[in-house]
């Protein structure tokens, strides 16, 4: 079965370690991700200004590409792209006045009215494959790997786009359990990583990361699992600065959920592109016998 798929710009540049293991893993699970043609930027961030319709053009145009394909569902992988696309879709579905304005502005395109359903790959794993079926496909269970699920904001907020309970999400915990890992619940799992605030206040990066990382460590996590390249950037940079400030702080590897998926499905470390991770997870994976002692990768991530 194939699924219309929107990658997003970052997944083609800095976060290939989020995309490539996902494509390979889903193929093993019987789902082919079919990249939609002529896609553009998702809009990067959903504009909250009521009358700022120009910033809805980019996400809506991508949804039009899906409708043109004759598909009614679009799978996303980057949590931020998921958020902007799903919210723009709701706007087109629910607000007739804005829908008309946008459709008449994009008069070179077919009309769009929210016909496409936007989903995240985690929802596909949960709802279309199922945790049990996933667990049965696992070849290398991530036994004894204590991973804290970090959701960030964009998969859960606002409520109308949430892929899971806003207050008490469990989707990543169930995912990790299916892979044989030990999920570590911690209270800061939905706390904001700093998002784009970091661009205007770069000095705050470690202060956003501190409570998240400290809480995960205190609850016994050996690694964090992420769904978003921006969370990855902010937490990794924040962690580096914290280590510089308070020597002795242990560096905690940050994984994309798709890397752990591919690893558990036995697709090997090459598919996971660990060399693109900020900070190397090599020693942790070797310690847990999830990587052969002869494997090695030089991190190239900054």
């Amino acid at each position: 079965m194939s699924l219309a798929y929107y990658p997003g710009c970052t997944l083609k540049t800095k976060a290939r370690n989020l995309e490539e293991p996902a494509i390979a893993s889903l193929e093993v699970l019987g789902l082919k991700l079919e990249e939609i043609p002529r896609w553009n930027c998702c809009g990067a961030v959903y504009s909250l200004a009521e009358d700022d319709l120009i910033h809805q053009v980019a996400p809506v145009r991508n949804l039009i590409r899906v409708k043109e394909l004759g598909k009614d569902k679009l799978a996303t992988l980057c949590a931020f792209c998921f958020n902007t696309l799903k919210r723009a879709n709701l706007l087109m579905k629910d607000n007739a006045e804005k829908r008309n304005t946008l459709n008449s502005f994009m008069d070179e395109e077919i009309d769009y009215g929210g016909e496409v359903k936007v989903v995240h790959i985690l929802e596909v794993l949960r709802d279309e494959i199922g945790w049990e079926a996933l667990a049965q496909k696992v070849k290398l269970p991530l036994r004894e790997l204590k991973v804290a699920p970090y959701y960030g904001c964009t998969l859960l907020r606002p409520r109308e786009v949430a892929i899971d309970s806003v207050d008490n999400p469990t989707i990543l915990r169930e995912f990790l359990k299916a892979l044989g890992a030990s999920p570590v619940d911690f209270p800061e799992s939905t706390r904001c990583c700093g998002s784009y605030q970091i661009i205007s206040s770069p000095d705050d990066i470690s202060e956003y990361a501190r409570p998240i990382l400290n809480s995960a460590l205190r609850h016994g996590a050996e690694a964090l699992v992420l769904t978003c390249p921006l969370c990855d950037y902010n937490l990794a940079r924040g962690q580096k600065e914290l280590i510089k400030k308070q020597s002795g702080l242990r560096e905690m590897p940050l994984f994309y959920f798709t890397q752990l998926l591919a690893l558990a499905l036995g697709l090997g470390p090459q598919v996971c592109h660990f060399e693109l991770n900020h900070g190397s997870p090599e020693s942790l994976l070797k310690e847990k016998n999830l990587l052969s002692q002869s494997e090695s990768f030089q991190p190239i991530g900054g």
């Binding site: 540049t13 553009n40 930027c41 053009v57 980019a58 145009r61």
Partner: protein, 260 residues
């Protein structure tokens, strides 16, 4: 046409020619002023007929130099149209304005130091991320290039795709004149094509072999011989040369293979 007339500006001569045949006059508006000009002229010739002397905004007159980007509108239509003045035939009641130059930002770079990494383009043209996918650039392209798709390709780090999509760009700048995000698309694409040509596309091995042969003097003797030939003999050689037929296949070889 007399020899004397031929020596004049070819455009003027063409205009005279048009007058002689007494074509039907149609109204057009150049920068808002009404003129009656013979139908069938290009926008550029119509402007010259109306009295404009073009020292900018005209170049090759053949649709390839990109100097004569023009916008126009027809009555009763809100759509802005674009064309190259040297290519587009006038239509009645067209409102015409030329945009021969647009002050677009062009990054300075030392090409020798550039790699094929997407970040090279990001760093030189960070404003590309201001694109909101409004598609005005694509609508403004007289070459029919999917300009917005090429910008998207650059943002996605796909320099090869940006080079491929923008291959027909003649740098007229109309995309830039319409850009909501103030991008200089055509300069970004030129950089993409340069990087593609120099760093991404595989080197042609046979070319390297040929250059080596040239440098080693394989052809020096033939050239020296040719230099000694008298003019008449040279003309004869030229006229009797064996040309590759238009329909020649990949494996075509001349009868005389001494120079291969």
């Amino acid at each position: 046409m007399s020899v004397k007339e031929e020596n004049k500006n070819p455009a003027e001569a063409a205009v005279k020619e048009e007058k002689k045949t007494a074509a039907k006059l149609i109204p057009i508006y150049i920068m808002g002023k009404r003129y009656e000009v013979p139908e069938g002229l290009t926008i550029m010739k119509a402007m010259e007929y109306a009295g404009y002397v073009l020292i900018r905004g005209c170049g090759c007159r053949g649709g390839t130099c990109g100097a004569c980007g023009t916008v126009y509108r027809k009555p009763g239509d809100y759509k802005l149209q674009v064309a190259l003045a040297c290519q587009k035939t006038i239509e009645p009641d067209m409102y015409i304005a030329q945009i021969p130059f647009f002050p677009a930002n062009r990054a300075r770079y030392e090409f020798a130091g550039l790699t094929s990494a997407p970040e090279e383009v990001f760093k030189l043209y960070p404003e590309m991320f201001r694109c909101v996918a409004c598609n005005s650039c694509t609508k403004a392209c007289p070459q029919g290039i999917e300009v917005m798709d090429a910008v998207s390709a650059l943002k996605q780090g796909n320099i090869s795709e940006a080079a491929r999509l923008s291959f027909d760009c003649i740098q007229c700048g109309l995309c830039t004149s319409r850009c909501f995000g103030e991008l200089a698309q055509y300069h970004m694409f030129q950089l993409a094509r340069r990087i593609y040509g120099a760093r991404i596309v595989p080197r042609a091995e046979h070319l390297a072999g040929m250059v080596k042969a040239v440098n080693e003097g394989k052809y020096d003797r033939f050239l020296d011989e040719l230099k000694q030939v008298k003019e008449d003999e040279l003309k004869k050689l030229y006229q009797e040369r064996e040309a590759e037929p238009m329909t020649a296949g990949e494996d075509w070889k001349p009868k005389d293979t001494r120079y291969l």
